[in-house]
Point group: C2
């Protein structure tokens, strides 16, 4: 027992910082979205550089006819993090997000959560940071023009990420739905990026050094055919990210050097599901660590087969945890029971009832 005895206010131990959607937007505004993506990329790179210290588990899925809910846990031996994320393609029809998420970072030494945060916006930002970071190693030097095929919710973040990290100045946008491209152009109007809306994928990739595919249909589609892809480009394939969902013709893969986050996962979820299980790929962490080469020639086609990996979320959670003291954009949640005497959990319940009041929620 200690000085807190018989106190009804939870101590600091009981509180977990919580970042709501509104607070996440305020955190982005506090440092600016490009700095935010740059910061995320730094944390992601840091964690990829210590790749071998992570416990890399496959995602744990719960399937329904309409979609999937996944838990993505990982740990570096000191800190534990997980993301909850859903993927429900038909949600849009009902005015819901197709992908939403939240995450938790915890101290593995005590088991206590350190952070609870929305991750719908954060996932969009970390996905862009992951793509742009990879492109700093894989895109041709001096790349300024990026084709963006698929102009949905993720496309804005990709454009801003590639502006911040790669120096892209021009976006050539294509979507089956011209309204989606107009939306993208409108949102990027004040960003400093020049956006050209294109009438076909072929028109979009004209002159582009980088091709980003980020379409949403949950099926094997062929957004790019082989004859559309010339030598020297970098393909940032973001949309193919679950079994049965791909965007590129197989022949493009066969002409490309393929870079991945975690091969065991990409072979199931990425473009790579079209190729034999032993097809050679390079892991990005090895490129960042200088163990393997990124782009080696100006004629090479490089392909980042992005599916998203738990360590990127872990890095994003770390970034937010470190940002919060600077911005103050969070509230404290009374999530953890904190009795005066840890063995006296019921005593806490009992005293709360007798007093007819408890601590603030």
């Amino acid at each position: 027992m200690n000085a807190k005895i018989a106190s009804l206010s939870p101590s600091e131990l009981a509180y977990v910082p919580f970042v709501s959607v509104d607070h996440m937007m305020k955190n982005v505004a506090a440092i600016g979205i490009e700095n935010f993506i740059r910061g995320l990329a730094d944390y992601i790179k840091d964690d990829f550089l210590r790749w071998e210290s992570f416990d890399k588990k496959p995602r744990i899925p719960a399937h329904a006819p309409q979609g999937v809910i996944e838990l993505m846990p990982t740990s570096d031996g000191k800190t534990f993090g997980f993301k909850y994320v859903n993927g429900h393609p038909d949600n849009r029809r009902d005015g819901l997000q197709t992908v939403t998420g939240f995450g938790v970072l915890s101290d593995l030494a005590t088991g206590y959560p350190l952070l609870f945060t929305e991750m719908t916006i954060l996932t969009a930002l970390r996905t862009a940071a992951t793509s742009a970071l990879a492109a700093t190693y894989l895109a041709p030097k001096g790349a300024r023009i990026m084709a963006v095929i698929g102009n949905g919710a993720q496309s804005d973040f990709q454009c801003l990420g590639f502006k911040a990290l790669v120096g892209i100045t021009d976006i050539r946008a294509y979507d089956l739905d011209p309204k989606a491209s107009q939306r993208l152009a409108r949102n990027l109007a004040g960003s400093g990026l020049n956006v050209t809306i294109c009438k076909s994928p072929e028109a979009a990739i004209e002159g582009a050094q980088i091709i980003t595919t980020v379409t949403a249909d949950k099926k094997n589609a062929t957004i790019l055919t082989d004859n559309m892809v010339g030598p020297g480009v970098h393909i940032n394939a973001v949309g193919g990210d679950c079994p049965g969902k791909t965007e590129l013709h197989k022949d493009i893969l066969l002409r490309s050097d393929i870079f991945v986050e975690f091969p065991e996962q990409t072979r199931i979820e990425g473009e790579l599901q079209q190729l034999p299980a032993d097809h050679e790929v390079t892991e990005l962490w090895e490129v960042y660590a200088g163990k393997k080469a990124g782009r080696t020639s100006e004629y090479q086609i490089t392909l980042f087969d992005s599916v998203g990996f738990a360590i990127e979320d872990f890095a994003a959670l770390r970034f937010i945890r470190d940002l919060l003291p600077k911005t103050g954009n969070f509230i404290k949640l009374d999530l953890l029971a904190d009795p005066d005497d840890p063995r006296d959990l019921y005593g806490m319940v009992l005293r709360s009832q007798k007093s007819g009041k408890g601590a603030a929620a």
Copy 2:
């Protein structure tokens, strides 16, 4: 786009009900702890009765030298639930809880969370409900006296659960630390239970029809030896709940009919880890469903080898979700991004920044 266009207030879709520790205590007070445990037991029984409709996954652990963090997901095909729980035996030394938890219930058809709640208190209550429910099938008829060996945080809840569901009137309490027994007796003073503090385990079990073992040490201990256990008793073994942690001498197990939640898990985590992998056990759901017998004779020793299972947490989450509209003891968290146009996530971020304000957290 719809009527919400350009609105900055999240719609109802964006909010997830959150039950803090304080609100959980208020929810317990609102209906009374015995009714609360009875309600939990009803929901647990309901879910055990549809056992085969659940996706039963093993827990997903992250280990550290100090303890473990586990994610426990399950789904019935319509609803998804998971619990985050830690077990850190040395936390008490630092004034922290050894076990804390929180949980989430979600709609599998949309992936959207329906409830986010503390589960430290809720887990203590559902563990008691699980034990007491099992005892209604396994304890000798007319049992009134229960020995409780180990008088830590879980013991109060066990006593109240057995009063509510089994009709126990007398508790015989023993702990290595007499202060723990005094604490238990003090907390139960107004409950209607008679509590006798005993000086040895042998004294505690005198005349008891039910023996509850609920000690906390993470080691293979022998709280009960074979000669202490007479015919006809029901043993409710709660403390042995992870690899390397057991409470009963192996010979007791060999004389008992053993009942378990989920054999695959109990064989690793429960008292059962002392026996060969093919030792016969009965699954509780089969007893509740009338497929297997519970207690069949007055001389039989029955043993519930309790380790805790995800479906109990799922049932507890359902119980809280259904209770909240009646008590109102929750707040709404702005956890889900809810742009006017689901494809326009960045537009929401952008408008929030331009307006210089966002929705309430």
